[in-house]
Symmetry: C2
């Protein structure tokens, strides 16, 4: 008898409302867990100075992107201010097959789509400790008008209602603590009994 | 809106075959996680020099112990070489209510009983990396005859069959790694979505 954990990686989906600090937590996680792979999005927007194909984005024409949608090559996609953005299934699948865990940082609508197409993912909802704190963070960014602020807070309140479709909730009271929780979740998920492989 | 994790502690049940290193892992965990409470057993055996009531054991007469069984005050119990041993529900319940996690180190039969009476526990099976390794560890103890060794290995093989009743498997390849896994499991379990408390 020989026991080991499954070698296939896990897809970790980190989501939550706008302003909760997904980007900050992900940046801190990159330092803490360099072994984690980050999903690379496909987009139709033009590359900016210094952006590299396959590193920052997979750059696509609108035609190519639409074909990817039709062929179900995206595990989620959306349109923002005239450009398409999406998560290519191929990159995720290949990285998982290589035995690496993949982290996907995504908004709540995107996470909902991923859950339909990739139910075996581990879904984590990043939550502000209070609504007041979320408001402070959005205001602090200074990029929002009063109207957009109200809109964002309403959207967040709606998104909280989807929380029970997630596996875990990470309260983002402090970035380091939030990172420790995400790290523990990933480590623990690898130990789940259904990931054990026993051979003779 | 205010979000926090449930304040009630979790019952963590660490089990596995004889010889796998439950005691060693628990001793290392005590150092790593001093905030963890350890379940104190009740027993009918006489206290040894230096053993203290409520610290090492709750010392009971046979009559008292049998009453505890009848009143369902034990979440598991067994008889070894003429003495009774068991886990009092009260200590576990009170410690969990104080918001502390409780670790219960117990054999596979005991864990099975706990699962019946405390299904909300987190059940971890400690597994040797190979059967060969388990054999080495039992032989290394030097306290077993050839017959007992064979008996123990057979018992272990039987116990492995119960592994799918557990939530997690921790492979005890190295004590420190095993401890890290248990620690991650406890931390991750606190983040499960059903333990979130949101108040207005």
């Amino acid at each position: 008898m020989k026991a080991h954990y499954q070698t296939r990686g896990l897809l970790i989906v980190l989501s939550g409302p706008s302003g909760v600090g997904k980007g900050t937590v992900c940046a801190a996680l990159r330092k803490r867990m360099p072994e984690l792979a980050y999903s690379v999005s496909a987009t139709t927007r033009a590359p900016r100075e210094g952006e590299r194909e396959g590193v920052n984005y997979f750059f696509k024409t609108v035609e190519e992107f639409k074909q990817m949608i039709e062929r179900e090559e995206l595990i989620e996609w959306a349109q923002y201010v005239g450009n398409y953005y999406g998560t290519p299934r191929r990159f995720v699948e290949e990285t998982l097959a290589q035995g690496k865990d993949v982290l996907l940082e995504i908004d709540v609508q995107g996470a909902h789509q991923v859950k339909q197409r990739f139910p075996e993912g581990i879904f984590i909802f990043l939550l502000p400790p209070t609504m007041e704190e979320l408001k402070n963070r959005i205001v602090h960014r200074g990029t929002e008008s009063e109207v957009t602020l109200a809109h964002r807070l309403n959207a967040a309140a709606d998104e909280f209602k989807q929380i029970h479709q997630y596996d875990y909730v990470v309260i983002n009271d402090e970035v380091e603590k939030a990172c420790e929780r995400v790290e523990a979740i990933i480590k623990a998920e690898h130990c789940r009994v259904d990931r054990l492989v026993m051979t003779e």
